[in-house]
């Protein structure tokens, strides 16, 4: 009896040891906060990671020798290889700690890389159990490494700047998951935000400039084919029902100045229609705005003036969407506005025939707009005398 009790106790002691096998202490880890992907001239993949440095003493980056910020707590490390995993191996050799990918929430891919195709390398991020589906993806105008090497003065690290930029939803916001969905979508096109460095200001260190999103990259079958500017991006956002923030400035007819409005709520519904061989799409938009600036001498409390303003607003949006469509349909021939999926959902049978030469057919879709703009509050401001 005594012996069995003793054995019991020994066994219980073993229980206490569980969980230590796969332990990973924070001071054994290199926490990766941002990733940059470049292609070298020899065609190798250059993987740069931004690692959070817990030291807190404000370390310099490997390449940022002349930075002046001082409170940035990140370091950079680069590896090269024929594939992403191979580059990671190279990177591993240079790091004293084990890499932790679960906090890599900003992934920057250089334009040159995107032009050769990103589909194969995304596989790594999907397969690896650690990177998260909510990581944000960006395309950089120049080298991706340069974006991630910036030393922002407002945020702790450049990856954080990128995350905040994406979350503000002023322009495109694309997560790893969104990108996967777009790559698998019916049209095979995807659209990603593009980041650029703001020009260096006088008297500031090279790396102290900030990155910002100003364009959107358009990809076909995972390969970048072109880009669109911020105005057109907003148009695309309208089509995709992703518009969150936008300030629209209009100049109504008969008015002597501009009136700016901030969007409170915007909703887009795409209604496809197949009539024989003709493809039609009705874009139905409902929007609610607030007036934030009034340069004119209009008194917006007059209902008649308000209605004119609403009409001008609707017209302005329609103009913008038509411009967007012009570029997207005729020039890029890339269905980044999501028409393909709408047609497929409504006409699954007929769609199968259209799918084969959608690129050509997309350009022939006749689009009509049905925009309902409503101005909710006009504010008082400096009322015209």
């Amino acid at each position: 009896m005594k012996r069995s009790i003793a054995i019991c106790f020994i066994c219980m002691a073993i229980m206490l040891l569980t969980g230590c096998w796969d332990r990973r202490e924070t001071n054994d880890l290199a926490i990766i906060t941002g990733v940059a992907l470049d292609k070298t001239e020899e065609g190798l993949i250059e993987l740069t990671v931004e690692i959070h440095s817990p030291g807190g003493s404000g370390n310099r980056s490997e390449m940022g020798g002349d930075s002046g910020g001082g409170k940035n707590k990140t370091i950079l490390q680069t590896g090269k290889g024929v594939s992403l995993a191979d580059a990671m191996e190279d990177l591993d050799e240079k790091l004293s700690r084990q890499m932790l990918w679960s906090h890599a929430e900003a992934i920057v891919i250089s334009k040159a890389f995107a032009e050769t195709g990103i589909r194969d390398e995304l596989d790594f991020f999907v397969r690896h159990p650690e990177p998260r589906l909510r990581s944000y993806i960006f395309i950089s105008d120049g080298k991706a490494k340069e974006i991630i090497a910036l030393r922002p003065s407002l945020e702790r690290s450049s990856s954080e700047v990128l995350i905040k930029l994406a979350e503000s939803e002023v322009l495109m916001k694309v997560t790893l998951f969104d990108l996967m969905e777009m790559l698998k979508g019916e049209s095979g096109t995807s659209v990603l935000p593009m980041v650029a460095k703001s020009p260096r200001e006088q008297g500031k260190a090279v790396l102290e400039t900030v990155s910002y999103i100003n364009r959107s990259a358009v990809l076909k079958q995972g390969k970048m084919i072109g880009s669109i500017n911020d105005q057109l991006t907003r148009g695309v956002l309208w089509f995709r029902n992703e518009i969150k923030e936008s300030i629209v400035t209009v100049k109504p007819e008969e008015a002597d100045g501009y009136i700016s409005m901030d969007i409170l709520k915007g909703r887009t519904v795409l209604i496809p229609e197949m009539d024989g061989h003709r493809l039609k799409m009705t874009v139905k938009i409902e929007m609610i705005d607030d007036v934030i600036q009034n340069q004119t001498d209009w008194n917006l409390k007059e209902l008649e003036k308000l209605q004119m303003l609403e009409a001008a607003l609707a017209q302005k949006i329609e103009q913008r969407l038509t411009d967007t469509l012009e570029i997207v349909q005729k020039e890029l021939k890339a269905d980044i506005v999501g028409f393909a999926d709408e047609f497929r959902r409504k006409y699954p049978e007929k769609w199968k025939k259209e799918k084969a030469d959608w690129e050509e057919r997309f350009a022939t879709v006749e689009v009509t707009f049905d925009i309902e703009a409503e101005v909710l509050r006009t504010g008082r401001g400096s009322a015209p005398q």
Binding site: W21, D22, L133, R134, F177, E181, K184, G185, K346
Partner: protein, 371 residues
């Protein structure tokens, strides 16, 4: 009867719920997606009749031989030699099936959570745990199932609710894009899961309220079906056409949860549900193997068999497959070609029931002719 313990029909239903769903909740969406695409939520509905049929047949057999499990009445129906042979085949299939389940458990834990822990530790611990539960008998297993169920279900619902902000119903459209066939093809894979309901033939003789067995058995199938429909529909709402990229979409979905920045990384919750459920599932199958073997050998007690069989199963499960593609091939075969669960869950009992009816006819015929 070797088993002295009794369970209620409700406990049996819950036990079966776990025995089917524990592994299914993770792997079903991905394996069905290959065939059914965005219609995966329809497939469980098409597949559920198999479950109902299994319960029905086991129930009918139990009516004829109320005190026996399948190992015993197969001998009564087919004679000692044929009955024993059939029993052996059945047991071998159950042992293989159980080993594969242990392998799946070990593989999943190692690949998703503890990559550096040796597999034999993970599988070995689970076998020891299950062995102690099985050693306690059917009552212990039944009550465990009853205890785990509310937690399992509650956490499952919590995950579903937390996923709601990310859903987009558009992703499931168009429904039945290519007609009924894709979802029916997807349901083929699910037959293997629903056919596992057949193993109730090991539990039916030990029920306290046998008249309710049918009712709770059917209810269990229904709840399993509804849970699967709910899982699949949420997965498709969240992931749409990306579903096929994940091994365990429900797990990936829980990883995807992020509410107000701090409520994220909830996969450990799913893992907790999953391990609890899988534990019950493994116990249920382990118990049937142990009890069946003891009855097949005409032993007076099944308890001495628990550990030796555990060792056999452990070795089997560690050596089951060399790598993931070999495993994938195995699952491809058992889900599309030779469906072992359909054989032991449905085909064998059906054969026995048929033989039993024919035998009855002959006996009656003989009796009449002797008069």
């Amino acid at each position: 009867m070797i088993e002295k313990g009794k369970i209620s029909a409700l406990q049996m239903g819950i036990l079966m719920y776990h025995a089917i769903l524990a592994t299914g909740i993770l792997f079903i969406p991905a394996s069905v997606y290959d065939a059914a695409k965005q219609d995966i939520w329809l497939s469980p509905i098409w597949a559920s009749p198999v479950g109902f049929l299994c319960i029905f047949i086991a129930y009918k057999l139990n009516k004829l031989y109320p005190e026996d499990t399948i190992i015993q009445y197969s001998q009564r129906i087919l004679g000692t030699f044929l009955g024993k042979t059939l029993g052996l085949i059945l047991l071998l299939m159950l042992v293989t099936s159980l080993s594969v389940m242990f392998w799946q458990y070990g593989e999943f834990v190692v690949s998703e959570f503890l990559p550096h822990t040796p597999k034999f530790v993970i599988i070995g611990m689970m076998i020891l745990l299950c062995a102690s539960a099985v050693h306690g008998g059917l009552e212990v297993v039944g009550r465990l199932a009853g205890m785990v169920f509310p937690i399992f279900f509650l956490l499952f619902l919590v995950i579903i609710v937390l996923l709601l902000p990310d859903i987009e119903i558009k992703r499931m459209l168009p429904i039945m894009e290519n007609g009924m066939m894709p979802s029916l093809k997807g349901s083929l894979v699910l037959y293997t899961w629903f056919a596992q309901f057949g193993i109730v033939y090991f539990f039916l003789p030990f029920l306290t309220n046998r008249e309710k067995a049918m009712k709770f058995g059917m209810l269990s199938v229904l709840v399993v079906m509804l849970t699967l429909v709910l899982t699949n529909i949420v997965v498709i709402w969240i992931f749409g056409n990306v579903t096929e990229n994940f091994n365990a979409p429900f797990m990936s979905a829980s990883r995807y949860i992020s509410i107000a920045e701090f409520l994220s990384h909830l996969e450990s919750l799913v893992m907790a549900i999953w391990i609890a459920g899988t534990f019950i599932k493994l116990c249920a199958f382990y118990y049937t193997v142990v009890l069946g073997t003891a009855e097949w050998l005409n032993l007076s007690d099944y308890r001495p068999l628990v550990l030796p069989l555990g060792l056999v199963i452990g070795v089997f499960s560690l050596k089951a497959f060399l790598n993931s593609s070999e495993a994938a091939e195995h699952f491809e075969i058992v889900s599309k070609g030779f469906m072992d669960t359909l054989v032991y869950g449905l085909a064998i009992p059906m054969l026995l029931l048929l033989a039993a009816y024919i035998r009855k006819l002959i006996v009656r015929h003989k009796g009449e002719s002797e008069k």
